[in-house]
Amino acid sequence: MNGTADTTGGAGMDEAAATDDGSPMGAAEAAAIIRETGQRARQQFRVSHRVTFTIWGFGLLLGYGALWLAARGQRPFHGPDPAAFATVVLLANASAAAGLLSARAEDGVGGLSAVRQRIYFLSVFAGLAAMFALEGALVRAGAGRPAIGVFEASAPVLVAGLFYVITSAVWLDWPVLGLGIWLVVAAAAGGFAGPAGVWGVDALAAGLAYLVMAVIEPWVRQS
């Protein structure tokens, strides 16, 4: 590291130990620095999960809700194609916004957290890619549109749920573990509501779970 001349020096307490007004730093000032700097640093490094959960909650409620409205009552079931596009756009935007929020808090932070972050993104990408591949395989195997409909609604929720379970295992984050298990259960149970109903069940079960997390998260973290 290229440095300039050291401004510190002298016996005992060096001159850098002085406060702004030149007086030696006392214990009370040091304690105040530790408290204020620590609080500020933790705040700066903390990803706002509350905002992320809110974005995903409304994204799922509105996106999946729109798909449910588009698909309900279809005889025969042919799927909510135009709304599906809107959902993808909405979820993609939510994802990008959540990613940007995360990136700001982690700006300049490297090391293990950065490696974990890449592994998370890789796992979500792999999960979603596998999901689309499986959907193609189901179509190829002759699965009907209703079966495909159940799969395409529940599989993303299942992938998200497993992602949160894995995340909680790394950070021992119990609220996130709760969210992950809930999403996995919602994905599995929602399928029994049929190809149209699954969108509505997942919209409510997953969307509201995210919103509940957004509400309780700051309180849970403090307690």
Binding site: A16, G108, V109, L112, S113
Partner: protein, 102 residues
């Protein structure tokens, strides 16, 4: 150690801020020089000076990756630095407690 038992390497406002900021990172993480400078509010020269002192004591490590515009210097608190901060905080608490009692 200074007369009151506080580690003189840490017992300076700027270095205390640096160590406390780096201690807020998760184990195994580091922070870019630029972000640290932004958080601490020192000039690059002053920050380098204080980091060098902490580095000499074995409390922080710095690593430069890349070159040219992509160069990134990262700074991390060592285990020894984290332990030193804990000791410093303990001594500080004792000093404050004894001042309260006196």
């Amino acid at each position: 150690m200074s007369q009151d038992g506080l580690d003189p390497v840490i017992h300076a406002p700027a270095r205390l801020r640096i160590v406390v900021t780096l201690a807020a990172l998760r184990d195994g993480d580091d922070l870019s020089f630029t972000r640290l400078q932004e958080l601490i509010g020192l000039t690059p020269g002053n920050l380098i000076t204080h980091l060098r002192k902490l580095e000499d004591a074995g409390y922080v490590t710095s690593e430069k990756n890349g070159s040219g515009v992509t160069a990134r210097t990262s700074v991390a608190l060592t285990l020894s630095g984290r332990a030193a901060l804990e000791r410093y905080t303990t001594v500080l608490r004792q000093l404050l407690d004894s001042a309260d009692q006196g």
